[in-house]
Symmetry: C2
Subunit: 215 residues, 2 copies
């Protein structure tokens, strides 16, 4: 179905934007997508600052002009307005566990890759954290991020050895963040899934076969 009451500001190259696109694809919901040109620094423009003062994509803008930013907040809004195919869990226990696993993946994996990229890419000098404030890159932090990604991979392979999906026996946002983390680590930090991590590889291939993986 198409939801004409919302607009998604996003960038094709942004892993955080992809977390929302994949969520919408799993829900089967189409929305108006408005590209924000990160290469041209459009996220720093005054019109975009009015949408998101943290100057990040994605942002969801409602009919009344309200902006909702931050991926888990956008997911929450979309889950409540499109409750079919729950991706944040149904019962209280499922919702708690899925929120827990998704966050572990984000903190240990996704954020580590973001940190590695932001502290090494020459074009991000002085922009080591996204947002309105300037911070210099820290080489020791970039090095530590690579260690963190390796530890994340090891933990992920252990978890996936005991369950079909990251948060248990059903597909959820925890799989979305983990899948995008793997692609981001592969492309952004040159750290693909280690050869011997067979549980992660099997899981990755199953997620990659879902139509939403191309969103």
């Amino acid at each position: 179905m198409t939801d004409n009451t919302i607009k998604l500001y996003q960038s094709p190259a942004s892993p955080n934007s992809r977390r929302v696109r994949m969520f919408l694809a799993e829900k089967g919901v189409q929305v108006a997508v408005i590209p924000v040109d990160l290469g041209a620094k459009e996220q720093f423009s005054d019109p975009y600052r009015a949408i998101n003062p943290r100057l990040q994509v994605p942002a969801l803008v409602l009919e009344d002009g309200t902006s909702i930013t931050e991926v888990p907040a956008i997911w929450r809004y979309l889950e409540l307005t499109h409750p079919g195919t729950p991706l944040l869990g149904a019962t209280a226990k499922e919702q708690g566990l899925i929120a827990m696993w998704e966050r572990r993946v984000e903190l240990d994996g996704f954020s580590a890759v973001m940190e590695a990229v932001r502290n090494t890419v020459p074009g991000l000098k002085g922009r080591a954290l996204s947002g309105p404030h300037a911070y210099e890159q820290i080489p020791a932090l970039a090095e530590r991020s690579l260690e963190r990604i390796k530890n994340f991979y090891a933990d992920l392979n252990t978890w996936l050895g005991t369950s079909s999906f990251v948060a248990g026996e059903q597909f959820s946002v925890a799989d979305i963040t983990a899948f995008i983390t793997v692609d981001f680590a592969t492309g952004g930090a040159k750290l693909p899934i280690p050869e011997e991590h067979t549980a992660t590889k099997r899981w990755y291939d199953r997620i990659a076969a879902r139509p939403s993986a191309k969103a």
Copy 2:
């Protein structure tokens, strides 16, 4: 009311534990509280590892033995099982906006203070990130964290100049995280609210007057 179906593993000194205690106090819900002695490194023990492999407090344990960890996940479970006095918002729009503001405060404020403390306290050498993996402290990161806290304070004062509470006109989890961030910055990073930040000071005094502030 007392909820006998759950147990909260936590530490009195842990700011993340306090985020859950303050939430429960606002809800008027009492639960069994089990102290984890961080000074004695009880969070690294095998029994606690079985409760939370990330070796952090707090953790909520359900009657069937399920552990839910990570503060926003614990909040979600408690909000759904104790829906009176919603602290995560009622409508989809409120829930989205509160999740957004709470996360901004956590990423820009709470996490910056945690980073400052973890990268400077001598007792945390080799433990610059909480969790099962050892990481060395990075002095340049500690310095950057102090800048981040100052920027957070400036942004917070701007936001609070336009609304009664962090996420708008009602008390929410965004206020819980912001209030605890201020106390943590004051005690942990020796950065109290700057004298000239009158909007933040007025808001702080109102939150400090709530009984939950002592939880």
